[in-house]
Amino acid sequence: MSITIAGVSRRFGDFQALSGVNLQVPAGSLTALLGPSGSGKTTLLRIIAGLESADAGQVLFDDRDVTQLAARERGVGFVFQHYALFRHMTVAENIAFGLRVRKAAAADVNQRVQELLRLVRLEGLGQRLPTELSGGQRQRVALARALAVRPQMLLLDEPFGALDARVRQELRGWLRRLHQEMHVTTVFVTHDQEEAFEMADQVVVMNQGRIEQTGSPQQVFDHPATSFVMDFLGNVNVFHGRVTAGRLEAGPIRMAWSGYTQDEPRNATAYVRPHELEIDRHAEATALQATILQVTPAGSLLRVRLLAEGYGVELNVDVVRERADQLQLRPGEQIFVRPKTARVFMPEPEYVI
């Protein structure tokens, strides 16, 4: 079942949580709503679920307008960040809840509960209370509870936010596999870009109640539509400067940029990802001298933190292992660094009257 959001706005007092959001979630997809806190992603998720109402706009499931439909009639499975398990019920009773309120036959309920306990790998724990489970187990119960009623879509609000790193990693992979098996349209909210990129086939980057960009993880990462997306995707070196007649000067970066060819200088910001900077022992024309502050191994990469004294900026550079072995980088050494490429964003000019 596909989801269409058309011009949805929501205001809480003086706070505009959502302003005119349009979004298409294809049937069977796994979509991430990614953004900082206060960007409106949770509000949007709750509006899709019917747990929050929109001031304006429409929500469509396939072609059906569900804007006025109550949450309990939308057939949506919702998973809360803090699980929201019924604390006075056992695990099995929690999972059975949705079926029991629909007056399903007891035998069917029991069978379905066993099925789901197997699915979330909690066989034998049906009689435990939620307080007797670990965080990861609780979140799996919450998922089983949401899936028990065979929802047409699954909505998850920061599902792994309250879990520790190892459990989070495990559950991500598990949820991804679960989605591949069931193909139920799934939308989850996260502020963790790694989580969004690892799990989703569509990433929606949100900021201040608006959608900044929608696309596949690859598209969003390689072709960020706005400076916010670039910034938010994180771990990026930012250089403020200006463009004049097709040339950019931003800190150490000097390069041709065809995005602006007029003679009047305009402010611009250049973004360079850590892997787009190259470290060398020898000076080159466009290279910039810097001192190594810190060297941290990170998997197949070496993370190097530099201080470019000439510009007073700190830089993050990722060096692949082979190259790092050649260079033998040590803190305190002087090296040269050169951007291979950069993305330039020009803010709208501020006219002064």
């Binding site: 309990r72 009639e73 919702f78 809360f80 699980y83 929201a84 604390r87 006075h88 809840f97 509870r145």
Partner: protein
């Protein structure tokens, strides 16, 4: 906290109280005991001593042989539970409204809820008189309709309800605030209707708090004097509740009768208090409900 500052705390050897000199501890504890004894224990014991001074048989006949006294017991046992029922329904509704919705005037409502605790019960009774009495606002209209409020059961009910209004709501509001709405939202998204939501999710989560509020409310409702005094008109055998009966018997120099009724009122209060204490003791031993960890 400064590690060097706390003395006893820093080396982890227990509470600061252990550092106070013995004489100070004995003095403070002794004073607390003395005040409690003089103000609370002695008067209550004295009520029982007086009530049973002529033996249990005399006490029993004081209670059962006077029809007006018998009526006062029944009246209290009908007015108080009805007021408690009304305040339970009101308290649930108020707590739900105030914790689950954010609206203009919410803080005002929260403050107004405490008004019955602040206003003197006599004033509350007077207000009822001024509104529903024969000279009052609604008096003529009520008279035409043939409904008597003041100097009758409805007046007693109104006065008692007003005075005990905040108990249940006050108990539930912080509880429901701390529980949060997530479980209820989860239930709704799973397809629960309003009644299923209340009976299966909300009520099980708040039952102990609710029961505690009801018990407190009931204890206060039985003992209410001031507001009820104003609206009752003191008609023996008709509008005298137990507290009013105690006073009336005392004014009529019937001390044994007065003490007998007072002792029953005290027993009822003590029973309620014991129930509340047992409940608190028991719920505190249960594992703290959680499911919300940050």
């Amino acid at each position: 906290m400064h590690v060097s500052g706390g003395g006893g705390m820093a080396n982890g050897r227990g509470l600061r109280a252990n550092g106070d000199p013995l004489w100070l501890r004995v003095l403070l504890i002794g004073m607390a005991m003395a005040v409690t004894g003089v103000l609370i224990v002695i008067p209550i014991v004295y009520v029982f001593v007086q009530a049973f001074s002529d033996g249990v048989g005399a006490w029993w006949s004081q209670l059962t042989e006077d029809p007006d006294t018998r009526h006062s017991v029944l009246l209290t046992l009908s007015v108080a539970p009805t007021a408690v029922l009304a305040n339970t329904i009101f308290g649930l509704a108020a707590a739900w409204t105030l914790t689950r919705f954010r609206f203009r005037g919410r803080l005002l409502l929260l403050t107004l809820l405490d008004l019955p605790f602040a206003v003197s019960p006599v004033v509350a009774g007077l207000c009822i008189l001024l509104i529903y009495g024969s000279q009052g606002w609604l008096g003529p209209w009520l008279k035409q309709a043939g409904v008597q409020v003041v100097f009758a059961w409805p007046g007693l009910f109104l006065a008692t309800t007003f005075v005990t209004l905040p108990f249940v709501a006050r108990e539930l509001i912080p509880l429901m605030e701390s529980l949060g709405a997530d479980e209820e939202l989860a239930a709704v998204s799973l397809g629960a209707g309003p009644w299923q939501l209340f009976w299966r999710v909300t009520l099980p989560n708040i039952r102990w708090g609710l029961l505690f509020g009801v018990i407190q409310c009931h204890a206060r409702a039985m003992g209410e004097f001031g507001a009820v005094k104003v609206v009752s008109g003191g008609i023996s055998g008709q509008t005298d509740t137990m507290p009013l009966r105690v006073e009336k018997l005392f004014q009529e120099y019937n001390n044994p009768g007065s003490y007998a009724v007072a002792s029953v009122l005290t027993i009822m209060a003590l029973a309620t208090l014991t129930a509340a204490w047992a409940l608190e003791h028991w719920t505190n031993r249960r594992p703290t409900p959680s499911g919300k960890e940050h």
